[in-house]
Each structure stands twice: as C-alpha cells, then as structure tokens.
C-alpha cells in the first residue's frame, strides 16, 4: 500500500551532531499522527527535511509514492505539503485576510505587468482571491476577523490563522509545529476541534504535540522520537502506556 507520506531512513548531521538517525515512519491519508519526544529529539528537523528547508544526508521522503527528497521548498509546497512554524511567523503588518491571500496556491496576478497594465483584471483576481481566502478563514472560524490586523487578534486566533495559511497553499499533508502550546482552555478546545475537522475532511496531519492528554484526544497514531531516532510508533494506547518511553519523556531515563 502506498502511504500518503513516507519517511525512510532519513539521516541528518549538523557538524558531527547526528540530529536524525535513520528515521522512518509513514502517514496515511486522513490520519492525525502526533510527533512526540523530549526537546532536542529532532522533531523540527524532521519538519525541515520533509519540507525541503534542509536536505537530508541520507534516506528518502516520498509523497504518494513520488520521491521528493532534495526538491526545492517551493516545489514541495506545490506538491501539497504545507507547514506551520513554532514561532508562528505571521506577516504582522498585514491584515488577517491578506495573510491568507499571500499564501494562496493560486499565483495569478503576482507580477508587476498585470498589476499596472491590466488594473481591472488585477482587481478581479484580487476579488476572487479574497473570496477564496474568506472561505478558508471560515473553516477555522476567523471570518469575522478578516479585516483586523494580526496584532489585533488573540494568540489563539493567531495560531488558527497559521492553519488557515497552510490551508491556503492547498496542502494535502499539513505539518503543524506545536499548534496548541500556550493556548487558554477555550482556545485549546477550539484548536482540537479544528484539527479533528480537518482530519475528518481527509487532511493528513503530522502534529508536534507535548501535552499527552491532547495527544490522546487527537492522535490516530504516535511517532515517538528521542535523540534523532524513532523509538516507537503505533496507536496511542500502545505507545503512551510504555513505561520506558514515559521515563525518557518526563526525564530520567536515557
């Protein structure tokens, strides 16, 4: 069976430090996979390798059976892998809806010739993009904040906007780096609902998550990493019950 995303024996070294050591795991369509492990386990490095921000030293990454290792970042986004960042990286001087418009997969009108010489056509493109962006904002419940600036919305809403931006790229696989960290109880519930809805709609998600309660809530499968290696992967019940992994995760064991 062809997996939606398959990571095979991916290795990455930084100046002698082995950040990823023959990592292998796979994601299936519509499933939420949680990537867990202590700080420094290599979770963000995995994200960087999958999205082309880093080139793995060895191993292959396949999307729907097609090798994407070594492809440039833009190409990988166009193939359907989108990511969010731990530190959000929103465009802070832009409005909420413009943050989404800028990320839309539709690249039409993004040149000076159209903008200056075909103003009406350019406006039509912008209107169409605005409509598309509004629909995406509705999916995360931010449509009423469309014309606010990023700095005027709450932290929880900013995190939802990050997801809207990834949706705008028409991603089939979403990599979310700590989407729930620092959220209030209400915002947290909101985020969990959004992640569930995305998964129900067929989205494949890889989520870095620290809170084991939330992991139980959203994960179909868990990939447990430590010191650059995948120590275990499977359904939450199996992985979370393992005493040795809990020791590593909460400190102590090595």
């Amino acid at each position: 069976m062809v997996h939606m995303l398959q990571v095979e024996n991916v290795t990455k070294n930084f100046l002698g430090l082995r950040a990823l050591d023959a990592c292998s795991f796979s994601l299936d369509q519509g499933e939420v996979t949680c990537l867990v492990g202590p700080n420094g386990a290599g979770k963000t490095t995995v994200f960087d390798c999958i999205t082309g921000f880093l080139n793995p030293d060895a191993g292959t990454i396949m999307l729907n059976g097609e090798t994407i290792t070594g492809m440039n970042r833009r190409k990988i986004v166009q193939k359907g892998i989108g990511r969010s960042f731990q530190n959000l990286r929103l465009f802070e001087e832009l409005s909420v809806i413009d943050n989404v418009i800028v990320c839309l997969a539709d690249d039409s009108g993004n040149d000076p010739i159209t903008a200056i010489l075909r103003p009406f056509h350019s406006q039509k493109i912008l209107d169409r993009k605005r409509g598309e962006a509004l629909k995406i904002l509705e999916r995360v419940g931010l449509e009423h904040k469309a014309d606010h600036f990023v700095t005027q919305i709450s932290f929880g809403q900013q995190k939802l906007l990050c997801i809207a931006r990834v949706l705008a790229t028409q991603a089939k696989v979403m990599l979310l780096d700590e989407p729930t960290s620092g959220l209030s109880a209400t915002a947290l519930k909101n985020m969990v609902d959004v992640i569930r809805q995305l998964s129900a709609a067929g989205m494949t998600l890889l989520v870095v998550e620290h809170n084991t309660k939330i992991v139980r809530d959203i994960a179909d499968r868990i990939v447990f990493m430590h010191q650059g290696r995948v120590l275990a992967s499977g359904v939450p019940g199996d992985v979370l019950e393992r005493r040795d992994l809990a020791d590593i995760y909460f400190g102590g064991g090595n």
Partner: protein, 286 residues
C-alpha cells in the same frame, strides 16, 4: 527662469525617484544607497541617445529599460547579502558609477558633463520652458503615482510586503521570492530611469556631481521625512526637502554660508526625524 515652477518640477522629478527608492527600501526591504547612480544612468542614457538623433519617446524608453535591467543586476547581491551588508555593496556601486561618469570621458563628457541636451518638441510646443515642462513632469508623476497605487493594492503588492516582513514564511507559502524581488527591482529601476531622463531634459545639462552619493542620501532623507511605504510619503518628502534651500535663501545670509548651512540643515532634519518621527510625516518606519 521661474523659480517657483523650477522648484515644483524638481520636486516632481525627485518624487518619482523617491518612489523608486521606496519600492526597494520601503516595500521589499532592499536597503539601496545607490538610487542616484541609477538615476544618473537614466539621465546619461537619455542625453546620449537623444543627441545621437534618436527621437524623444524612444530615447526615454531606452533610458527606462536600461535602468530597469541595471537595477535588477545591482539588486542581485541582496538576494544573498542581508541588511547592512547590502548597504555596503550598494555604497560601492554608487562610487563605481560616479567613477564611470567621471572617467568614461568619450561617452559621458567626463567632469564637464554633457551640455545642451535638447528638450522634446510637440507640434511647435517646446518643453524648454518651465511653463511647458511642468505639464510633462506632472503627467509623469501622475502616471508613476497611479502605477505605484495599482501595484501596492494588487495581490502582487501584498506579497511584496509579506516578503519584507518574513521571507521564510513567504517561501513556506510557495511564493517565488526571487522572481518577485527581481520584478520589483525592475520596476524601481524603470522609475529611476524616468526620473533621470526628465532631470536631463529639464536641466539640459548633466555632470557627475548631480548623481553622487550625497544625492542618494538626499533621496533617502526625502523618504525618511515623507515616510516610507506610502504614496503620500514619497511625494511629500521631496517637496519638503527641496524647499529647504529655497527657505535658506530667504534669510539674508552671506553667500559662502549657504552651502554649508544647507548640508547642516539636511543632516539635522534626517537625524531629528529618525529620532523623533521615524514614520515620517505620512508613512511607516523604514
């Protein structure tokens, strides 16, 4: 010569060059201190072409196209050099340009420059006189402003802002950052070329001193005073900065003091705005 009209015309020409600088420094975040050099290339290219017998519209287009290309080439290092490093690179480019204007005498006339650049004539109407030229410069500024406005409100304009704010996030969204930076550099160069050509027509004489580093700094000062990233800022700035020398002439100062006082005034204005009003009068912080 009508001093008030000359002031308006020069301010309009510099507003076009300020818009050119605004695209790079304000919008996309490429901190260039060599826009006067690009403007100079536009001026020389127009002058040489027109004096070689090429008709006005063609000479103007030639100057604009050459500057667009040149600006793309000189912006290329910014793709690898960030912030301060690019300032040093563009400072170097400015010095090289001045050296070329001075020493390539066969083409540029060296330090004595090029004199007697003819103004275009349309059906007996000569643009020699400020009374007529002001229509040309106003039309050019209106066209440049309208284009700036259209560009900034398009989805392209929004993406340019996004690239300045967080280039990595723009890449993660699948945007072709390189292509967009080169595109806006070309537009910026075209504006500088237009400004340079108009300057050559209006002054009918150009020499290297008109396009030196201090002119680049003066253009940046205009942008700081008016405010970056807005249309109003790029237009207000030149009108205010170019009014300073006019004001100084109103004070009954000894002639040998006027030059140094002008430089002092520009310096004080630049530093004051950066300290107390970094957004300028009608814009945003650079």
């Amino acid at each position: 010569m009508n001093f008030f009209l000359s002031y308006i015309i020069l301010a309009e020409i510099f507003a076009i060059v300020a818009l050119s600088t605004n695209f790079l420094v304000g919008v996309i975040g490429i901190f260039s201190v060599s826009q006067a050099a690009i403007m100079g290339v536009g001026a020389y290219a127009y002058a040489i072409a027109v004096m070689a017998g090429i008709p006005f519209p063609l000479a103007l287009l030639l100057a604009i196209a050459l500057c667009a290309l040149l600006n793309v080439a000189t912006s290329l290092p910014s793709l690898r050099l960030e912030g301060d490093y690019f300032v040093v690179t563009s400072f170097g480019l400015q010095i090289v340009a001045t050296a070329v204007f001075m020493n390539w005498s066969a083409v540029t006339g060296g330090t004595s420059g090029i004199a007697g650049i003819p103004a275009p004539r349309f059906s007996g109407l000569s643009f020699d006189e400020p009374e007529n030229f002001v229509f040309l410069s106003t039309f050019a500024l209106a066209l440049a402003s309208a284009s700036y406005w259209l560009l900034m409100r398009s989805s392209y304009g929004r993406t340019l802002h996004a690239i300045r704010l967080d280039e990595l996030a723009a890449v993660a969204a699948g945007r072709h950052v390189l292509q967009m930076k080169l595109g806006i550099s070309a537009v910026s160069g075209a504006y500088a070329g237009l400004g340079g050509a108009l300057y050559a027509i209006f002054m009918s004489f150009i020499d290297p001193s008109s396009f030196e580093i201090h002119v680049s700094v003066l253009i940046l000062t205009m942008l700081v005073v008016g405010g970056a990233r807005t249309l109003a800022g790029s237009i207000l700035g030149p009108f205010i900065i170019l009014a300073v020398p006019q004001m100084l002439t109103l004070l009954a100062l000894p002639p040998h003091l006027i030059g140094p006082l002008r430089s002092l005034a520009f310096g004080v204005i630049l530093v004051s705005f950066m300290l107390w009003l970094p957004k300028g009068l009608a814009g945003r912080k650079i």
